[in-house]
Amino acid sequence: MATRARIPQLTPEQFDELGRELDALRKELADDLGHDDAAYIRRVVTLQQRFEFAGRALLWAGWFPPAWLAGTAALSISKILDNMEIGHNVMHGQYDWMGDPSLNSKMFEWDTVCPAEQWRHTHNYVHHTFTNILGKDRDIGYGLLRMVDNQRWRPYYLGNPVYAFVLMVAFEWGVMLHDLEFDRILSGRRKWSDTKGLRRRMWEKGGKQALKDYVLFPLLSGPGAMATLTGNAVANLVRNLWAFSIIFCGHFPDGVADFTEEECADETRGQWYYRQMLGSANIDGGKLFHVVAGNLSFQIEHHLFPDIPARRYQQISGRVREISERYGLTYTTGPLGKQVGKVWRKIFRLALPPRGRTPFGTARRDKLRPVPDARRVAA
């Protein structure tokens, strides 16, 4: 893999050593998994169920504004926990070792409109294998946005902030439609008829979710139907805003690298780890914040070890950071507000054509801070 000037170059030996170090760290974690990890995920599931139960119950009294507010908040937290700390992590196979069918990656289904099976393909396979490779990782802009300088600018991207805003508000539907690859259908690279099975499964899952939140629970509330309906809609919205913000902070703040297909041909294990480290960004925060973020605030650690239980990321983040720094690799992190700000600034900036008609991305590369000489550090 050839690396560009702006990101530190490692020698083949250094890549191998990096791979060995991270493999050893992975094994250390895998060997240590046990009762505490199982108890933790069960505790989170119980907590999520209690929030869900409380939310649904309170919304029955939703005509009373404080009950509506509390119910909507509880249901929002339930959906956030379900999607992030439970769904996302369980479906990565983080708890497959437990042998519990209810926490198995292949059998889990989450409280969102995107069918789990479809998401596992686009996320676990496509995104996690080809992280930040332009043209292969469809999470770069979701076929909708311009998120890296290397994406060629077209007048369509003047709407970048508008598309991003719509995607944020309707995030669960965006995640669901992601796999249809509308951009490829519009450009004729994919046939609409090829998506028949996909659309049927979307219709089934999305329909069931919508039926539950927008028809059945409101009907069960009788005269309070409107309060339940709005409460459920707001809870889904809150989850959408939160998930979008956390996820976009994982790969799109400044300082995160993107790669080309040529650069990543015939990658070694060390080079794969290297790309995961440089292609991800963390968010600083407290313990509770990390739980609600599904520990995706440790996006770097998650991308290195996507199937190790997420509660372990915090424990190794110091060591991963030390390794990054020793090899001269940027370990991008920052508080939520700042990272969200960076993401939106980028969404706005990339709506416009590259300044001064410079080769794509050059302006940004010049601005990157110099990194220490990696060869010297690891020698």
Binding site: D31, D37, A38, Q49, D96, M98, A116, T129, Q209, D307
Partner: protein, 367 residues
């Protein structure tokens, strides 16, 4: 839900009908009703059999007997059948087969199993040390064909060794409950009197029913099973329907004798040892069976995904490097070695990633 009486059982069936109705299912999308029932009571489930430990006894130093109270989904067991028991040890769900030892006519609906404690055994050791009343375990429905025929013949010969006594005990207790009018000969092998799990109960049964002949054999004292020994203990063995369960050496000896004498159709055996295989130290040689496709290949040390593809199969796969779990499949039996970190696992029915696991000895996959 504790269900002893048939009334409670009918009540549960009705409740289950409501809980599995379309309306309730639609309201509990996507997780299903079981996830919420479990929040109220870990025993409650609409489909799964779960059981609470009601009683624990330690009949011998190396065994533990559990009495289990199953939930309303339990369909009962015939004498001689076994269940797969799931128990969580250090966060990991482990599955082992145990024969049901109780009578098929047990009126309190409880299920009794006895586990022999293997010093290296994860599950038996856990049950011996940690099983307490109230512990919830998972169960399968009863399985297995080691059962009595509809018409029980006049003479039944039971031969067991060690922990193989459990299914045979179930048959004996069932026959006793039915007031079986024929003769029963029970020949049991153990290392010594203290190692006989149901010794007192056996003695009581023999004392109460003159038609039960009870023979304890201790190989160190009496020698191993042989035709001479059988002629001494049960000379009329040829006219009996024989049930045999015990260590492989005993079962092999009994099997060859019965076959040699052309009595093969009068012998029923129950083998447990093949259900748990010890992993050889990373040796790839062995047979890899892709059960659903009906294809078998010789293990050659490559990953299971590569071997499946070479055999012309097209299993689902993604990253080919162990990260995306697309290729995760059920391994019904055998041991595999993770090529990334060398970990060997041999849990029956576990889900493994084909792309980073290579076979150790015989492996069967559900693909």
């Amino acid at each position: 839900m504790v269900l002893n009486s048939s009334l409670a059982r009918v009540g549960w069936r009705r409740a289950r009908k409501v809980l599995t109705s379309r309306a309730v299912t639609a309201l509990t999308v996507p997780h299903g009703v079981d996830r919420y029932l479990g929040l109220i009571n870990p025993l409650w489930s609409v489909n799964e059999v779960r059981a609470a430990v009601a009683d624990v006894t330690h009949p011998t130093p190396s065994s533990v007997t559990l009495t289990l109270r199953p939930n309303g989904n339990w369909d009962g067991a015939q004498a001689g059948q076994y269940v797969r028991l799931h128990v969580e040890v250090d966060g990991m769900r482990r599955t082992r087969c145990f024969s049901v030892a109780g009578s098929a006519h047990r009126s309190d609906g409880l299920v009794e199993i006895t586990a022999k404690v293997n010093p290296a055994g994860t599950v038996s050791g856990y049950l011996k040390r940690h099983a307490r009343p109230g512990l919830v375990v998972g169960l399968s429905q009863a399985e297995g064909g080691f059962v009595l025929p509809a018409e029980v013949p006049g003479h039944v010969l039971l031969i067991s060794g060690g922990s193989g006594i459990t299914p045979v005990m179930s048959i004996l207790r069932t026959l006793a409950d039915r007031r079986h009018t024929g003769r029963i000969t029970f020949l049991h092998y153990a290392s010594g009197p203290d190692d006989v799990v149901y010794r007192q109960e056996l003695a009581a049964l023999a004392a109460a029913g003159p038609r039960l002949t009870l023979i304890h054999a201790y190989p160190r004292q009496h020698g191993r099973f042989s035709k001479e020994q059988l002629l001494e203990f049960a000379p009329d063995y040829a006219d009996a329907l024989c049930y045999c369960c015990g260590p492989p050496s005993l079962m092999d000896a009994v099997g060859s004798l019965w076959r040699a004498e052309g009595l093969g159709d009068r012998l029923r055996v129950e083998r447990f040892t093949t259900r748990i295989t010890a992993p050889p130290a990373g040796d790839p040689a062995g047979e890899v069976r892709f059960a659903r496709s009906g294809v078998s290949v010789r293990g050659d040390g490559r990953t299971l995904l590569e071997q499946a593809e070479s055999a012309g199969l097209r299993p689902d796969h993604g990253c080919r490097m162990g990260i995306c779990h697309t290729c995760t499949s059920v391994k019904t039996s055998g041991a595999v070695r993770n090529v990334l970190d060398g970990t060997i696992t041999a849990e029956p029915g576990e889900r493994i990633q084909l792309c980073v696991n290579a076979p150790c000895g015989d492996v069967e996959l559900d693909i």
